[in-house]
Each structure stands twice: as structure tokens, then as C-alpha cells.
């Protein structure tokens, strides 16, 4: 008997068993969502079957048209791309400074920033709204984006500082002696090293902004500026909820964010190679 081999295959089996069980629980709702999106309203309730009896692909077309997704989609892409970009840019700068640089009031400002994570949203809703009004930013994309960006900052800075703290200092010091500017070090050394953390943040912020709708609904008046979540409201009637169309709409709205995740998660892993080469 080859014990080490047996041991390895047993541990591999256990590993896969755990991974598969958890995976199943994660995949099932997606499966259910897509399956329901292809059923008829009646079928969603009467038969608890896993697969639709007839595959109504037309639900997707109806959902797309009824929810005006065409109109909202670009808005959401715009908010997400710009919002995430600025969150990452601003927070990496600040987090790098908090982790590596000396300046006045460093820890005071850090804890002040973190404190924003603690105040629950419902409290600040109305003051924020009045503020936007006073700045004439109500019903503007800028106003909404500024809220999104500042909402994402505290979390991002907090997370990134943790990562920057752990990065080896030696490379940076060498670069400093070579005459590299502080910004150069941040841009050329710190950022590439923190790539996995940045990729993680891109995913999380994209997810938050993509799914946000309460603030958007309150801040914006003009339909032409509304994000994709606005479209999904159409199906959630006060009385009648059109489940197949809702599920089709949700599926459409989920796909872009899954694509973002698929693309960014490669960078989470790539970090290993990059870090190994440079470090």
C-alpha cells in the first residue's frame, strides 16, 4: 500500500467534498433564478419543478424592453466605471500615505475616516440630500457619483492600508535611494504589489455601485440619468409581482457584474507571480 499517496487522495477527496457542498449551495439560487426566468407566471407558483416546461426565452426580450434596460444600462456602466476608478485612485493614494508616510495628524485623520464606516446610512440620508441641494448637485450625475465615491473610500482605505502595511519595505527604500519620488514609488512599486487587494476592491465597489438604487432614486429626478436597478422596479408591483420577468431582469442585471468578477479575480491570483518577480 502506498500510504502517502492514499493519504493525499483522501485529503483531496475531503477538500473537494467541502468545496462541492458549498458550491452547490451557491449555484442553486442562480440556477433557480434562471430557471424561473424562463417559466410562465403560473408555472412559477403551481409547479415547483426545477426546469421550465416550455422555455420562454422571450421573457428576456420582454424584460429588457419593459424595464427600459437599454436606457439605464449605459448609465450604470458609467457610474460604475467612473465611481470605481476614483475610489481606487483616491483610496490607494491615501492608504499608501497612511501606511508609509509621515504627516501631521496621521492617526487622527485615519481614525476619523474609519469612523464613517460606523454611522449607519439611514441617519445621514436626509442631511446628505440637503447638502446636495445646497451644492446644486441634486439631479446631477456628479452629485450621485460624489456620494458613491465618498461612500466607498473609508472601506477601501481601511482594507488597503492593511495590505500596504504588510508589503516588504526594502524595495521602496532602495528606490528612494535611487532618487525615485514618493509618488513614483507609490505608482511603480506599491500599486503593482497591492494588485490583489486592488482587484478585490474593484470587485466590491463595482458590486456596490452597480446594485445601489435607493440613493440614485432619491438624488435623481430625470429618468435619463437613472441606473439599471431603476428598471427592475417595474416588475415589483405593490400587488402583483411578475416573477418570471423580474427573474429575467435580475439575470440580465447580474451578468455584467459576474463578468467584472471573472475578469478581476484573475488579477487576485496574478499577484502571486508579480509579487514573486519583483519582491
Amino acid at each position: 500500500m502506498d500510504f502517502p499517496k492514499l493519504k493525499r487522495s483522501i485529503s483531496a477527496t475531503i477538500t473537494h467534498f467541502i468545496l462541492i457542498i458549498v458550491s452547490l449551495s451557491c449555484v442553486f439560487p442562480v440556477f433557480w433564478m434562471v430557471s424561473s426566468s424562463l417559466k410562465t407566471q403560473e408555472e412559477v407558483f403551481s409547479k415547483m419543478s426545477l426546469l421550465p416546461s416550455t422555455w420562454n426565452w422571450s421573457n428576456y426580450v420582454t424584460a429588457f424592453v419593459k424595464a427600459d434596460f437599454g436606457q439605464y444600462f449605459l448609465n450604470s456602466v458609467f457610474y460604475t466605471v467612473v465611481g470605481v476608478f476614483f475610489v481606487i485612485f483616491i483610496s490607494t493614494l491615501a492608504a499608501y500615505a497612511f501606511a508609509r508616510l509621515e504627516f501631521f495628524g496621521k492617526s487622527f485623520f485615519f481614525y476619523l475616516l474609519i469612523a464613517t464606516l460606523l454611522i449607519p446610512i439611514p441617519g445621514v440620508f436626509v442631511p446628505l440630500f440637503l447638502l446636495l441641494k445646497n451644492l446644486s448637485l441634486l439631479d446631477t450625475r456628479t452629485g450621485l457619483l460624489l456620494c458613491y465615491i465618498s461612500n466607498g473610500l473609508a472601506f477601501a482605505i481601511f482594507l488597503l492600508k492593511g495590505f500596504f502595511d504588510e508589503l516588504p519595505k526594502e524595495v521602496e527604500e532602495a528606490a528612494l535611494i535611487d532618487g525615485c519620488s514618493r509618488f513614483g514609488i507609490y505608482y511603480r512599486i506599491a500599486l503593482p504589489l497591492a494588485k490583489p487587494a486592488i482587484a478585490t476592491l474593484v470587485i466590491m465597489n463595482a458590486l456596490t455601485i452597480w446594485n445601489e438604487f435607493l440613493l440614485a432614486l432619491v438624488v435623481l429626478q430625470d429618468k435619463a440619468k437613472m441606473p439599471i436597478q431603476r428598471g427592475l422596479m417595474v416588475f415589483q408591483g405593490t400587488f402583483v409581482t411578475d416573477y418570471p420577468l423580474l427573474m429575467a431582469g435580475l439575470t440580465i442585471a447580474t451578468i455584467p457584474i459576474v463578468i467584472v468578477y471573472l475578469y478581476m479575480q484573475k488579477h487576485i491570483i496574478k499577484g502571486i507571480a508579480a509579487g514573486a518577480l519583483k519582491g
Binding site: 466605471v81 505608482y187 432614486l217
Partner: protein, 430 residues
């Protein structure tokens, strides 16, 4: 580095260009914000008709679900950005705040003109009016326009009744009969009774019907004033009704956390035999299961009660007019047209609701007809309301009785304790 700067530049350019082309001035006369997503198509059709007829452009915009809608309205009110037509979705006390803050127009004069007000079910209009000397200091008059009316009764599944050996054409009249019917259903392995008791207002609506029957209007007003305590035997009796249902296993499993949509789904798919629900259910059940064979009966009465039974209901949905809008009159004129017979008939058919215009309710389907007849027996909104925290404790105590956490006596005492606490608070602030 250069790439990053360029990239940043490009994104910023996009950012600012998109911001500069703000506010394409829309050519709208009357903007309506509403929450009734499932009626949007019908609303839009009417708005189009109105435009062809008068040249006044009306736009309907949905914000749903209603919690989101309510947020949107209160934020817009804070910033003075309310549309011409809206609904604060609030109780009488909060509506009074909107009126006192000048957000809601007094439409009494328009209602009196051409007998506009006479076309409505009286109860609906009453609920949208304020009486002389109300406790919030609102000038007496009519402030809202009802769009449809509704009431809450008990639906029953005729097929399941037959399965249990009950005659589907005979319905229970008294509480005792109701319990007997339910027991019979239970004995045949059918879950007897469901409702969205997970939503506070629904369990409250059920209890309120019996409150009206046992206390009458004067009794309820004295309760609000603190003269009659919640520990009154009649209140214990109401709690006991729920206990009786629970003790005999007559309530749907998990009813205390069931929201109405889940309860409706259960009834529509034949899981439960009876459901306490509003007239909107007709439309809901139809969309979920068009073949459902069901009827409706009034809430069973308590023989010992001194007062007539009253149902939860009145105006189903209503609109208010923004008094600050320059197009205020256009909005009122539109609503007048909107609630006239022809339009109401159309709306009623398109959305399976009972029109607020009683002249348009002549050719309703039979079930809705029963609901329409019950409107006269709905309890109206009082000019005084119980403190929301007391109502809250009351509703959760009803749930507590169902899950066996509290006895009816204990529940009644808890509500009374909260009442005492609130009365003390009020005295302290006054």
C-alpha cells in the same frame, strides 16, 4: 505613468462632459409619481387620451416598492421638489404635517364644483378629509382624490371546501361557525386560514374589525384618550380570538412571519382554504392561478358584540396635489377627468380594482361586487389616532399570542403598559 494620466484625463473628461449636458427641459405639465407598477400601462394610456383631448401633457412615473416611494417623497418634500401629483403614503398625522407645511393643496372648492365629490364612495372621501377642530390643526376640508376603493374580507377556496365535505355556497356567519368550518377543514388535512400576519398592519386590520364590533366608534375614541384601558375584557376577548385559532391549529404554519405576498401565493396555489385579504387579491390570484375557484365572505361576527361589524377599507389608492406647483389647477383638472365615470371604468377593468367613482362600479365581476358592497361598512379613519408605538406593541402582541409567547391577559397588559408610558411621555413634553 503617461498612460495613467491620459486615462485619468479621459475619464474625467467623460465625467464632466456628462455632467454639463444636464437637465433637458422636459415639456411636462403634470408630473405624477406613483408606486402602482402594475397599473403603469393603464395610466399611460389614459394620459395619452388626455393629451389628445386637452393638450395637457401628463407623465406617470413609478417608484416601487412603496417603501422606496415613500423615501423618495419625503426627500423631495424636504428639498421642495415634489411633483404635481403624489401621495405621501402616510397616516393621518403625517398627512397633516404635509398639509401644514404647505405641500398638499386643499381641493374642497374644486370638489364642491359640479358635484365632483358626489361621484365618489363617501367613505373614501371621508378618509381623505379633515374635520373641523381636528387635533392637528388642519383646516377642515378635502385634501385627496381617491383613485380606487378597497376593503378586506375573507376569501375561501370552493374546491377545498368541497373536499372537506363543506357546501361551498354556505359560508360562516358567526365566529363560532367560522371556527367550526376551519376545524372541519383541518380534520381533512387542509390548512384552514392564512393571511399576511407577518405585516403588522394586516394583523392589526383583522383585530381592528373586532375592535369596532366590540367597542364602537365612541369606545375606540375613549381608548385612544386613555379612558378605557387595553386590559378591558373586550380587548382580552380579541386576543383570545387569535388564541383560539392558534390552539386549534387553524392558522397556516408560519403565519406570524408571512408577508401578504407569500400568503397570497399560498392561497392561490390551494395550500390554504381561507385567506383574510383585500380586494386587490382578485387581481393577484388571477395572475398567479387563473383557474382558482373561490368566493368571498364577510368577517364572521361575534354574537355578543354590541356594535355592528366594520371592515378595514376605504380609499385603496389616492392622489394628492402639490399646492406649490404653478400647474396646480391643471393637476386638479386632470384628476377630475381621471376620476370621471368613463376613465374609472377603464381603470377598473384594466386592473381588476373597484373604482372610486361609484357610478363606474355597476358592471363589476361578482367577487368585486361583494367587496364594493362592503365599502359602506368599512370603518373610517378617525380624527384622532392611537400613538404608533402603542399600535406597534398591540400588533406584535397579537403575533406573540399566536406563537404562544404571551397569554391574552399578558398581551393586553403589555399594550396597556405601553399606553401608560406614551401618555406619560406626552404629558412630559406638553
Amino acid at each position: 505613468m503617461l498612460r495613467a494620466v491620459l486615462c485619468l484625463f479621459a475619464v474625467s473628461a467623460l465625467f464632466f462632459s456628462s455632467c454639463s449636458k444636464e437637465a433637458v427641459e422636459l415639456d411636462v405639465d403634470v408630473m405624477v409619481w406613483h408606486w402602482m407598477t402594475d397599473r403603469q400601462d393603464a395610466f399611460e394610456k389614459l394620459a395619452k387620451d388626455y393629451f389628445t383631448k386637452t393638450g395637457v401633457k401628463v407623465i406617470f412615473e413609478t417608484y416601487a416598492p412603496s417603501d422606496v416611494y415613500k423615501n423618495k417623497i419625503s426627500a423631495a418634500a424636504t428639498a421642495n421638489l415634489l411633483p404635481e401629483i403624489f401621495n405621501p403614503m402616510a397616516n393621518k398625522k403625517e398627512i397633516a404635517s404635509y398639509i401644514n407645511a404647505g405641500f398638499v393643496a386643499d381641493i374642497t372648492d374644486d370638489m364642491n364644483k359640479d358635484n365632483w365629490k358626489d361621484v365618489f364612495f363617501q367613505r373614501a372621501l371621508e378618509n381623505l378629509s379633515f374635520e373641523e377642530n381636528n387635533e392637528w390643526g388642519v383646516k377642515s376640508g378635502i385634501y385627496g382624490v381617491p383613485i380606487d376603493v378597497s376593503s378586506m374580507l375573507i376569501y375561501y377556496n370552493k374546491d377545498l371546501f368541497r373536499q372537506a365535505g363543506l357546501d361551498p355556497e354556505i359560508t360562516p356567519k358567526t365566529w363560532g361557525e367560522f371556527v367550526a368550518f376551519a376545524k372541519k377543514l383541518k380534520a381533512n388535512d387542509i390548512q384552514p386560514f392564512v393571511s399576511g400576519f407577518g405585516e403588522n398592519w394586516i394583523i392589526g386590520a383583522f383585530a381592528q374589525s373586532y375592535q369596532w364590533e366590540l367597542f364602537g366608534k365612541e369606545g375606540i375614541l375613549s381608548t385612544i384618550d386613555g379612558v378605557i384601558p387595553y386590559t378591558d375584557a373586550r380587548w382580552v376577548k380579541i386576543f383570545n380570538l387569535f388564541k383560539e385559532l392558534k390552539d386549534n391549529n387553524l392558522l397556516a404554519t408560519g403565519v406570524v412571519t408571512m408577508i401578504n405576498k407569500d400568503a397570497e401565493r399560498g392561497f392561490a396555489t390551494g395550500k390554504f382554504a381561507m385567506a383574510f385579504n383585500g380586494s386587490w387579491g382578485v387581481n393577484v390570484y388571477n395572475s398567479m392561478n387563473p383557474n382558482l375557484n373561490y368566493g368571498v365572505f364577510y368577517l364572521p361576527i361575534l354574537p355578543e358584540a354590541q356594535h355592528p361589524m366594520r371592515f378595514f377599507g376605504g380609499e385603496g389608492s389616492a392622489f394628492y396635489v402639490n399646492s406649490k406647483s404653478p400647474n396646480k389647477q391643471k393637476a386638479i383638472d386632470f384628476l377630475k377627468w381621471f376620476t370621471s365615470e368613463e376613465q374609472q371604468s377603464f381603470l377598473s377593468k384594466a386592473t381588476s380594482n373597484i373604482p372610486a367613482n361609484k357610478n363606474a362600479s355597476s358592471d363589476l365581476p361578482p367577487i368585486l361586487k361583494i367587496f364594493a358592497e362592503s365599502i359602506a361598512n368599512t370603518f373610517g379613519q378617525l380624527q384622532k389616532i392611537e400613538d404608533w408605538q402603542v399600535v406597534n406593541v398591540l400588533n406584535t402582541s397579537l403575533q406573540s399570542v399566536i406563537i404562544g409567547e404571551k397569554t391574552p391577559q399578558k398581551a393586553a397588559k403589555d399594550v396597556q403598559d405601553e399606553k401608560a408610558r406614551q401618555m406619560k411621555n406626552k404629558k412630559a413634553t406638553a
